[in-house]
Symmetry: C2
Subunit: 495 residues, 2 copies
């Protein structure tokens, strides 16, 4: 028996009508009442454009109050939002439009060309700009007054190991439980305001939109991550929580220089992959309350978080699974002993029930309610998780496992190294060997210095065999390092 | 598809092993790790005494860490806890033992005689003292590692309008959602400590035990409500939240005299029936953050709460339904217009799915997922609930509805009146007329003064026709006024 709750935006418009729901970096501000009215109006205009309950509607847009309202509008219609990454190519988008059986693509003004080009390559019967929708006349349609928690709300694609992206299904319940689990972990204050610098088409951004309506909390929405705006939001806009990935945190700390965040700033939620320890040390020196987390699209944002009580004693750990979540490390079908690296396997009501119409991926990833994440990690003797790497990024050299993140973490502590990305290269003798791409922060950094630094700190087989200097590392819309693009680059360098 | 979560006490013992879970007014203190160990040990000893998964086990005990551990122990065994009110007669308890199909009754040392006498009148195959269980040797038994949210956890009896009490079923999910809903309303702080002065066999007390393990929060457990201990707990034991009913609040304010609670004290959660406005005014003068609530056993504790933002502007209202909850006022099968009194009907994941094996009560109370509470109330134009009375307490006089709580509230503001309880008396001319029982706070209060005071403030038909002075009002274990006992008293006075 599934649970039913009142529509969460209606609820907050009733409980806190005049409280700010969304504040944008452009200076726009919407109360819960206004966001509700805007979203319901948009729903009626979408209905006038033919969107019906159960339809899959794709959204291709940057962060804006229109994008937020469009997501809520689809929930009022009982339609499914397929959230598209604006950085993808038209061909990649076309794949997702077809795979998710999208009946209508909606896009903002900044992505007209990309949208039209994608539709051109896909079987998507309808496509409209946000502007067209907004100019429609509302039609009479019964809007959803309740949310049935096991009903599908969003689909977000994640790259698959096979090369074909998989559509992660999120029910209303997945999002609800994610929001509640996060609150049970981080606490909940009437003064909270969360900075959303991540795109809404990523689960990290989308989850904030849900937290906003579940908590009755304002979200400060950035069109895209902007270091100056983000810094100012923390310093003078009463932001209390920020979601970041490592590279954003690095830049924020540099911007902070010798300064200090206000006492009301209570949480820097750090996700998006293993964080280099030197960065965490630097954050500690600046008294920034960093909460390391581990999560993915499939877990509707973080599922493991390091509580503040252990921030120092377990530096580098992602913490423990949230209250309703469970985690185990599996090695060849059995739970791995403490300290041994294996695959991270998770369970909980925030975990997706599956990939959209993808039996083979589902068969591979889901067993007895547990999701095999494909990530590698280990538990220490106290049960704290240390995330190593994506399993597909693991480098196996002469039978030894090498975790790129470990080498990157070491290099992040080296003077002259701004960022480092490590991948494996085919090697006749060892199978694979590690190579590193480095963004240098000053010009006298040499390959020899890098080798020397690594030799002093790493086992011989972990020392990168080649150093490539590069202007910037390839990152995705969430600023996460995209290692497979380094593999492509390597091909170019070596061809 | 129901959700599954890890056992909540195991979880907190993992997340916050050394944090205090339970502190008793006797000075006992248990961390989450200790409470877990104690509860699991007790479960293994209960198993050694024959308790099995699915059994219904009744608990007859005052508040203590043993009682708390016994409740958790039953969850580890997958058994159902039937929580018995220690103030009931043996015959009343026997009825509940039979109705709930209890296979074993467990009792503490203070209730041996009552327990044996109850078992004597019931078909309860087994009964044991806590002491006997504790002295058992643990047996090997698989304890529940997960909680399946739609599984039955507790049964608590509530008085039925027909005279036969009904067993309210609570699933793990009902309790979970209640705890989460409360946190979404009140916020959640790592410094919270909740004073449990209500008995654990009432839902108001039991819900704190669940909040403790869901939030990772210490509960200060009183054996029974003691005004000095409660006052001291707030003043000097870092208690931040207290659950009270009106009469407790009255006494706390008198105790506080000209003093003030510490700033860390953030919430006086007031339930157990409509509160007299003069009391709320008095609390406001003392700057006590009172949150009026409305709830009942069937809603697993509060389901409607007045948020602090509206504490002043909506004085006397119980507020709005919690985030996952819904409410409507029904009058003759239709939603009542704003301002019109009707029956309060509620829906939400914290609402019981039904009364144990009681088809007729279930048919009467549940319709399309909504529970008809039997309580009367109205909504104002902003959607705030004002609870009037239990429907069965409604007095109908010459066709006019009279709500006892209204008259009691007026009299609570009269100098010389400590407490007042109003009921209806049969009347040949009017059908019913109101009469009042008064506990006087000084001796020069006369019936005439009461009549005069009421005549100035109430419509003529609402002025009580008789005044009875009485030493104290009959109250139940939660300190709620028991109006049907006033009816019995009236019979004695008039016979």
């Amino acid at each position: 028996m599934t649970e039913v709750i009142p529509h969460w935006l209606d609820k907050q418009a009733d409980l806190s009508p005049d409280k700010t729901a969304i504040e944008t970096s452009d200076g726009e501000e919407l109360t819960f009442q206004q966001l509700r009215d805007k979203s319901r109006s948009l729903a009626k205009k979408m209905a006038a454009s033919g969107v019906q309950e159960g339809n899959h509607v794709a959204l291709l847009a940057a962060n804006s109050s229109d994008m937020a309202a469009a997501i809520h509008a689809l929930s009022y219609l009982g339609a499914v939002a397929v959230l598209l990454n604006v950085r993808l190519s038209a061909a990649e988008l076309a794949y997702q439009l077809n795979d998710a059986e999208v009946s209508c693509l909606l896009y903002d003004d900044g992505h007209t060309e990309l949208a039209l080009s994608a539709v051109d390559q896909a079987d998507c019967p309808d496509f409209r700009s946000f502007r067209e929708i907004i100019e429609q006349t509302e039609t009479t349609v019964a809007l959803q007054e309740e949310l049935v928690l096991n009903k599908l709300f969003t689909i977000i694609y994640t790259s698959g190991t096979t090369g074909f992206p998989k559509g992660v299904e999120h029910t209303y319940g997945n999002h609800w439980w994610s929001a509640v689990s996060s609150a049970l972990n981080l606490g909940l204050s009437k003064n909270d305001k969360w900075l959303a610098s991540l795109p809404l088409f990523h689960v990290g951004g989308l989850s904030l939109l849900v937290k906003s309506v579940v908590y009755g909390m304002p979200v400060y929405l950035m069109k895209k991550f902007d270091i100056d705006l983000a810094h100012r939001a923390i310093i003078s806009e009463n932001v209390t929580i920020v979601s970041v990935v490592a590279v954003m945190l690095e830049r924020l700390i540099n911007k902070l220089a010798g300064g200090r965040y206000p006492d009301s700033f209570r949480c820097m939620l750090l996700g998006g992959g293993p964080a280099p320890e030197p960065l965490l040390e630097k954050a500690r020196l600046h008294e920034i309350p960093v909460f390391q987390t581990y999560g993915m699209t499939e877990t509707s944002s973080q599922i493991v978080t390091l509580s503040p009580d252990y921030a120092l004693s377990k530096l580098g750990s992602a913490g423990k699974p949230l209250v309703p979540a469970q985690l185990k490390i599996m090695l060849e079908g059995n739970p791995a002993p403490d300290g041994t690296v294996g695959e991270i396997v998770v369970k909980g009501p925030m975990v997706t029930k599956g990939y959209y119409k993808n039996d083979s991926a589902n068969d591979k990833s889901f067993h007895d309610g547990w999701l095999a994440t494909g990530d590698l990690g280990k538990l220490d003797e106290d049960g704290f998780l240390y995330v190593m790497d994506r399993r597909k990024d693991l480098i196996i050299s002469g039978g030894e496992n090498i975790y790129p993140a470990e080498i990157e973490s070491v290099l992040a502590g080296m003077d002259g190294v701004k960022e480092a990305g490590v991948i494996g290269r085919e090697d006749d003798q060892w199978g694979q060997v590690p190579v590193v791409f480095i963004v240098a922060s000053h010009t006298d950094l040499t390959k020899e210095k890098v080798f020397d630094y690594c030799r002093e700190r790493l086992a011989k087989f972990k020392v990168p065999k080649h150093v490539y200097f590069i202007a910037e590392l390839p990152r995705n819309a969430s600023n996460k390092l995209v290692r497979h693009k380094l593999v492509d680059l390597l091909g170019e360098y070596e061809s």
